[in-house]
């Protein structure tokens, strides 16, 4: 079977089908996995407390979360059990908290706790004194948003899955089996799962599937603050959401930084996700309003991503039994949490039309390198060769291992996501030249254009 799109959902689908016994081909347009929506998110593992009641999204977020908690130790994936505080900064927002708490309890999140402003500030003293009231959501956690899908896919590859990057699907037809024409050549498959994210509607149309949605990219800009900020933000700080977005979040990252974002900006462009100076400044100001100690904190990184939103709020999941296809569309902002749930759901839908698979006799053990600061890193163990990136303490051994891995980096972003190299406060001031030498021509856009003259 073929999975189109190597974002977090596609990687999880590849794993689930490989575990079920399918021979999987994962087809990706970009130079590396996680090239689209999945490269930029807030890395929160959601409980679903604020998901639409009774929705497929709620069910799959909760299933995905449960499975992540079950498998993460065996895959060597981190979990920061920070909990979240939904913070009301005005009396009007405070009035909405009871509704949010009731919805959360209806959604099966039993441990929600209403707090006064003072109680919330006792849990997180860094919060501004302007806080009126809050709800504690202990089950909201932080994960490594790039190592998790890498681990899913690595497990799939260990079970025989093949990954094809630079392989944009140009068209496809079903005549008892699928023939997918890609930029790399034709892939023949018994069935197809469309997990094409920002191009979900485009791929549906190219495959001749009845598509009832249009992707409306929603840009989110983020600022990553220096590791010195981490001590001030032990929890995920959520705002009272609006109709459009969950709003600007302040949260720690698995890598020891603090994230402020995202924005929610509608745009037509599916390719460009630009950052804008004024927006970044506004995010910094918002972060300092929420946690005053963040004022003046050095900026480590800035980024922007596009969420594959559609004209409706809910997931656009559809089975096409007559064509042996499943579309996982419109996974707009909870994809990281729901990916494993979506994968299991896709397998269930697939079982409705087949073909059936024979599960493998044994499941190989897969462990991805840990990049989270809460667990032992490679630099803490001897014989790592050298520390190449001093800000993030990425070692030569880690970089070589990434290139030698079953799913090697295809571009500089992919190398950074796999090793942390260049992701720190100096943003590659010290290590980019060394990385240029180490990577050579193994990245789609090499870090060097050639030798110096003379």
């Amino acid at each position: 079977m073929a999975v189109i799109g190597a974002g977090v959902v596609g990687c999880a689908v590849a794993r689930r089908f490989a575990l079920a016994g399918a021979k999987v081909a994962l087809i990706e347009k970009g130079a590396d996995i996680l090239s689209g929506a999945s490269k930029a998110n807030s890395a929160i593992l959601h409980t679903g407390f604020d998901a639409p009641p009774g929705s497929l999204e709620l069910k799959l977020v909760q299933a995905g979360r449960r499975e992540y908690l079950d498998i993460r130790e065996s895959l060597n994936l981190p979990l920061l059990e920070t909990g979240a505080l939904v913070c009301a900064w005005t009396p009007a927002e405070a009035d909405k908290l009871e509704e949010i708490a009731a919805k959360g309890r209806d959604n099966g999140v039993a441990d929600l706790a209403p707090l006064t402003g003072a109680e919330a500030r006792a849990l997180m003293p860094g919060l501004s004194e302007r806080l009126v009231a809050a709800i504690a959501v202990p089950g909201e956690h932080i994960v490594d948003p790039w190592s998790a899908p890498l681990a899913y896919l690595t497990q799939a590859v260990a079970l025989g899955a093949k990954v094809f990057c630079h392989a944009e699907v140009l068209n496809g037809r079903f005549d008892g089996e699928w023939r997918l024409d890609t930029a790399l050549g034709t892939v023949v498959a018994a069935s197809v799962v469309n997990a094409a994210g920002l191009y979900g509607d485009v791929v549906d149309r190219r495959l001749g599937l009845p598509c009832d949605f249009t992707i409306k990219p929603r840009k989110g800009q983020f600022v990553v603050l220096d590791k010195a900020a981490f001590a001030h933000v032990p929890r995920i700080v959520l705002p009272v959401p609006t109709e459009i977005t969950k709003g600007v979040v302040v949260c720690p990252t698995a890598f020891g930084n603090v994230l402020v974002g995202p924005t929610a900006e509608e745009q037509d462009d599916r390719v460009r996700a630009t950052v804008e100076t004024e927006i970044l400044e506004a995010l910094l100001a918002r972060g300092a309003e929420i946690v005053p100690a963040l004022a003046g904190m050095p900026v480590t990184a800035v980024y922007a991503g596009l969420r594959p939103a559609t004209e409706q709020k809910h997931y656009r999941v559809a089975a096409h039994p007559e064509k042996r296809a499943v579309t996982l569309g419109g996974i707009r902002s909870t994809g990281l949490s729901a990916a494993l749930g979506l994968a299991a759901h896709a397998l269930e839908l697939h079982a409705g039309f087949g073909p059936a698979f024979v599960p493998p006799a044994a499941v190989p053990e897969v462990r991805v390198p840990n990049l989270a600061e809460t667990r032992e890193r490679d630099w803490q163990r001897p014989d790592h060769g050298e520390i190449v990136c001093h800000c993030e303490l990425a070692t030569l051994r880690e970089i070589e291992a990434a290139f030698a891995s079953p799913v090697p980096p295809g571009d500089f972003g992919g190398l950074r996501r796999r090793t942390r190299a260049g992701m720190g406060r100096c943003q590659g001031f010290h290590c980019t030249a060394r990385l240029a030498e180490l990577a050579g021509d193994r990245l789609e856009t090499p870090l060097a254009v050639g030798r110096k003259h003379p």
Partner: protein
């Protein structure tokens, strides 16, 4: 500090300031002096500066780039300084203990005194909040020079150069000498930040130079493809394959930032008193960690002075007392030292205050001690230029030391 000690003094960073401090400590008879440096050899930022002459004042001859670092290394070895390269200091504990990463794994080192001399770096694209895509090819001068000096590589052939500090000239020279042809140089301020020859050199070299111009957009999916530059609200595209960000140096102050020391709000670097002592009386700092940025020679002399103070401090072994902050009016950006201690050494490391301005400003700059002006100058003060004000002997004992700035209207 804790009992078992690995050295009398550990110097973190083997650039000009750190090596000079270590040499002076040994010259004054301090027994066990260790330099930790994360790179494979000493020299710090001078290792990749192939163009700049170093060593005139300290060694009486001119060295280029790596040769200066090798001279530092020979001097340190000859003086019996223990040099540990490939040692990356990861954290500075509340008790002054250093967590160090080496190829062997993690070690903890302690000493009677620590000297931080971790230097400075240029502000990267992210912290400048520059707009646009985030393609490959947006680098700083230091990164470009590391490409050239250490690996013989080039990150681009047709970059746009941003900035007009002294280092910007060096960035331009590195490009021209090694096979890159900049498409233009731009400076956001209405004037160049460095003195001549930035006024005329780029133009003579055939590189258009624009002041009051900034970046409105960076475009590129993989590598930089174009930059929109903006002047007077009007933008125009420049086709290029890279962006070379020069200057806007910031102290490499991660160790301070993540320790109880914190950083100075003005400089972003270590806050020190007149002896080079930080908030922790056993931890000292010198060189460009105190402020971005001075020359290698300046950092060397500063390191030597702080090294002398550390030696005196070890010999005196007394509590220097609480630190009083030096205050200043905007648009003064920073003051070094920014702390004063009444119980400091008889011969302080700093005899002058170093000031910098945030922007160009004309007006009267005065030093007030306990409310009384003891020094005053009127003039046009430029950003990124060194301003030196003599430190009166009475300053450390004063209750309030303040730099006043009265801008002309």
């Amino acid at each position: 500090m804790i009992a078992a000690r690995d050295a009398d003094v550990i110097v973190v960073g083997g650039g000009p300031a750190g090596v000079a401090a270590a040499l002076e400590l040994r010259r004054r008879g301090v027994d066990r002096v260790v330099i930790l440096d994360r790179e494979p050899s000493l020299g710090g930022a001078t290792r990749h500066c192939m163009h700049s002459p170093f060593g005139m004042r300290e060694f009486g001859r001119v060295y280029f780039g790596g040769a200066y670092g090798r001279r530092l290394q020979r001097e340190a070895e000859a003086r019996g300084v223990e040099i540990r390269t490939g040692h990356s200091v990861v954290s500075l504990g509340a008790d002054g203990a250093l967590t160090v990463a080496t190829h062997r794994g993690v070690e903890t080192l302690t000493a009677r005194r620590v000297v931080l001399a971790t230097g400075a770096r240029e502000t990267p694209r992210s912290a400048r909040l520059l707009p646009g895509d985030r393609p490959v090819g947006v680098v700083t001068t230091g990164t470009l020079q590391a490409y050239v000096a250490f690996h013989g590589l080039m990150p681009f052939r047709r970059p746009l150069i941003v900035g007009s500090e002294l280092v910007s000239l060096s960035a331009l020279a590195t490009c021209l000498l090694h096979g890159a042809r900049p498409v233009a140089m731009i400076e956001a301020a209405p004037h160049t930040l460095a003195r001549a020859p930035l006024d005329w050199f780029p133009t003579v070299a055939g590189v258009p130079f624009h002041t009051a111009t900034d970046i409105a957009d960076i475009r590129g999916a993989g590598r930089v493809e174009a930059v929109e530059i903006r002047r007077d609200g009007r933008t125009r595209p420049l086709v290029c394959d890279g962006v070379l960000l020069t200057g806007r140096f910031t102290p490499e102050s991660a160790l301070c930032l993540q320790s109880p020391l914190g950083v100075d709000a003005g400089s972003g670097g270590a806050a020190v008193d007149q002896d080079g002592r930080t908030a922790d009386p056993n931890v000292f700092a010198a060189g460009n960690l105190l402020r971005g940025v001075e020359s290698g020679g300046w950092s060397f002399r500063e390191g030597r002075a702080v090294g002398a103070a550390v030696a005196d401090d070890l010999a005196a072994d007394r509590d220097p007392g609480a630190a009083v902050p030096v205050t200043y009016d905007p648009p003064i950006k920073l003051a070094v030292p920014s702390l004063l201690r009444r119980g400091g050494l008889p011969a302080p490391a700093f005899r002058e205050f170093q000031l910098r301005m945030l922007r160009r400003a004309r007006g009267r700059l005065s030093l007030e001690i306990d409310g009384r002006a003891v020094w005053s100058r009127h003039g046009l003060w430029m950003p990124e230029r060194r301003i030196l004000v003599p430190m009166p002997p009475s300053a450390p004992a004063a209750g309030r030391v303040h730099f006043r700035f009265e801008e002309d209207t």
